[in-house]
Amino acid sequence: MIRFSDFSRETIFLSRQPYVLIFLMIVLALSIFSVWSGIAETQAQQNTIESLLEKDNVDRAQALEKQSSYGSAAYYSFHLTYFPPSPLAFAAMGQRDIYPWKHRIRMLALEGQIYETDADNPELSFLGRFDFAFLISVLMPLFIILLLHDIRSSEREAGRFDLLIVTARNQHTLWTARALVLSIALMLVLLLPLFVGAAIMQASLSKTVLMALITLAHLLFWGAITITVGKLMAMRGQSSPRIASALLALWLTLAVIVPVVSDTAINKTVKSPNGGDLLLLQRETVNDAWDLPFSDTWDAFLSKHPDWAEHTQMESSFEWKWYYAFQQVGDQKTEDLSNAYRNAIAKKDTAAGVVAFFSPPMMTQRLMTSLADTDITASLGYEQRVRDFHQSLRYFYYPLLFNKSEFNLQVMDDLPRFLP
């Protein structure tokens, strides 16, 4: 059993080691930086959304004022959809810099609009963010390796090994206590900024605790590996650098090689429709409609909306109801390709989830982004909400267009609103 006195002795011993203290201070500084930059970015996103919402309302009101028909009202009024960062997003920015979290759409064919991205600066995305999830998933293993790989071998090399073994009550407790004190100290400097950040962003306690538990689990994994490998290799008389080299090789395999090779394999095996095909097909179908007989558009449209079968007579060669009908038909025709495109993303994500079982750093990253709602699933969920909202716009306008209602600005007060 490890006694309290073992702990206090080791704590005092380690607190007199300047290198250990400096190391821990640096890790604390890094953790603070990761949380600070995460919060700064999250708040910037929140502010952007707020100001966009304001401008969106003004803009739509101005656009609608000038209109005299529901058709042109639908054509000129855009709607802001957005995906606000979750309170925990500051800790794991995840895919938010690649997948859009804001979109302005209108009632035209959605497939022509949804792939527009208002993405972040690509050069910064390429460099990657230094968020808490990155600190824990990629860097923490390196810190543990540096701290724990030589607790035995360093004493041996410093010539204190035998002395320590003789004086210690039980040599097992000696190393365990030292490793525990180091791990707990590392854990504290890593997690303190997270908790402060979570308090500032008012994240839910349970999710924050889960985030801390993921950190703990990842720490335990690397701690256990480092100590075991360290013990085995030290018993064989291997030097500290050799032990660390072996551990680094393991880190390299788990954090770099496994994800990168799997990514290549996943991209080869999961077939995804080409974005270019999707683009061209969508444009052709929407534009061809102008030259096709009206009945072609109506037949395709009515297959999904039979309710309007009685309202398809045309009084002029251009009518808004027909215009929006062929926009919808455009979406219908690209539906398969578009679904396949999204399914491929989801499939790749699932496959990556399987790969993560072989790569604890990836697992940590995925769990954290999933807690923070910044993973691919969350982004696809947002896209689905945009699609649903677009659908609700159609359901709002179709009765007005097909029943030839007189334009009334007040009706526009009932326009569907996007709720994140």
Partner: protein
């Protein structure tokens, strides 16, 4: 000189005996080779694919039947960006930017379909690109191979023996340095071969040479860092731990911190914010679809006066086409103004991140390598600008057709059943073909000047450090 060579060869023999070093180097070479092969194939495929799409897009445009010219304005056109030859080594921002843009009237769309949006999300930290391996992994390999190159001799006492036997300190250090650099060069070899291949497939030779020289400098820098730490440390353990800490800081931490700092210091409002400002401006300009918009009264008056007629129906040109051309011109000015602001913001963000190159050679080589390979942010912006130029050109040509080839009377009655408001499909060949060419070699060399200076700065700093450490070694 002979002593230097002897020391270098001894170091290599030592590596061979211990196996660790040879294993590490072997793994490094195999990884780079594999990534070069995989990436070369992928870039080739992407290049062919995009070329194909570009051709399809162009021929579709030309094949369109007779129709109203403004319909073609909305039919629009797609352009695809061809990857630069060196992107097989340094993919840079390419995976994060879209590679195709839809060009249509009255709008500037963003580039769509970035590869990263179609990926498993596993490659956010690392990627299989040869550039990543060279920038991040090769330093680690060199550390594992060489951390003890001097400390080992110190601990065993052989360093003193060598020095007393009359071997000069400079010779020892140079020998060890060359041995270390040699290991890095082995890993550089596949990359150099790929660069030669890029030259064969059309990349400028100045660029590929500069590119390889840049990576060579980077290997020199890391060789010097490893040697420096090994020289000033008294024990193997300290030299190892210090080098790993340095590696974490320089290769992993600072690049990430640079981007987080840039994002926090210069938050970019994004395209949507600009869209609102554009829309606001546009409302003042008037809607080009509506020739009776009061915003065009002045235009109308001027035109009537110019042709000395009283009614727009009597004008020799189609007034609706005139309005379309006029409003597209005004609108494009506004759009470009905002697009330029946004690109400027992105560049200044990126530049903050790039200045971290003075703190980490990894940031310097990364920027240098993107600049040389033509996979940098500015190249993406150039693509956006060229696409916009093409957009403006063909839209205005169509508006010109609208003005001169379509009668005003027919045009205003276009929705009546007995009227056919169309122009001949032969008019669609106003579209010029698009191909995105890499910038000339000299221009890219010029752009990467600052970052080659950063690399040289690192060479000098590390050499000075070694000099200082070697002076201390004497005492």
């Amino acid at each position: 000189m002979n002593a230097t060579k002897q020391i270098m060869l001894d170091e290599w023999r030592y590596w061979q005996r211990t196996k660790l070093a040879t294993t590490v180097i072997f793994i490094g070479v195999v990884l780079t080779l594999a990534s070069v092969v995989v990436n070369t194939i992928e870039v080739r495929q992407a290049a062919d694919e995009r070329k194909h799409f570009q051709q399809v897009s162009e021929s579709r445009f030309l094949e369109q039947p007779d129709r109203h010219p403004h319909r073609m304005v909305h039919y629009g056109h797609y352009v695809f960006r061809a990857p630069s030859p060196l992107s097989m080594i340094e993919p840079g921002v390419d995976a994060y930017t879209g590679t195709s843009i839809f060009l249509e009237g009255h709008r500037q769309n963003s580039a769509t379909f970035a590869d990263q949006r179609q990926s498993s999300g596993l490659t956010r930290f690392s990627s299989l690109s040869p550039a990543f391996l060279m920038q991040v992994l090769v330093p680690l390999l060199m550390i594992l191979v060489g951390y003890a190159c001097i400390t080992r001799e110190k601990e065993a006492g052989t360093l003193n023996i060598m020095l007393t036997q009359g071997v000069k300190k400079r010779e020892v250090l140079t020998g060890k340095f060359l041995a270390l650099v040699g290991s890095g060069l082995l890993v550089l070899l596949p990359l150099a071969l790929a660069s030669i291949w890029a030259s064969v497939t059309g990349e400028s030779i100045i660029v590929t040479t500069g590119f390889v020289v840049g990576y060579f400098l980077y290997i020199l820098i890391w060789g010097a860092i490893v040697l420096w730490v090994s020289t000033f440390s008294s024990r193997k353990n300290t030299s190892f731990a210090s080098l790993i800490c340095l590696w974490i800081a320089l290769c992993i931490l600072i690049p990430r911190i640079s981007s987080s700092t840039a994002a926090s210091i210069v938050p970019s409002p994004g395209k949507l914010e600009a869209d609102f400002a554009v829309l606001e401006e546009l409302r003042k300009l008037g809607d080009g679809h509506n020739a009776s918009d009061p915003a065009f009264n002045q235009l109308k008056a001027n035109l009537l006066a110019k042709h000395n007629v009283n009614d727009i129906a009597d004008l020799p040109v189609n007034f609706r086409g005139v309005v379309a051309e006029y409003s597209e011109e005004k609108l494009t000015k506004v759009l470009n103004q905002f697009a330029e602001i946004r690109m400027q913001e992105e560049v200044s963000q990126a530049e903050i991140a790039r200045h971290f190159g003075w703190l980490s050679p990894t940031v310097s080589i990364r920027t240098f390598s993107m600049m040389m390979a033509g996979t940098n942010l500015e190249t993406h912006h150039r693509f956006l600008r060229e696409a916009e130029a093409l957009r403006y050109e063909f839209i205005q040509s169509l508006n010109h057709v609208h003005q001169h080839k379509l009668d005003y009377h027919t045009d205003i009655n276009r929705y009546r059943d007995d009227v056919v408001a169309r122009v001949d499909a032969g008019n669609w060949n106003i579209l010029s073909s698009f191909s995105f060419e890499p910038q000339p070699g000299m221009a890219r060399l010029h752009q990467s000047l600052l970052y080659s200076l950063q690399l040289l700065f690192w060479c000098i700093v590390t050499l000075l450090l070694i000099k200082r450490a070697s002076r201390r070694m004497e005492q």
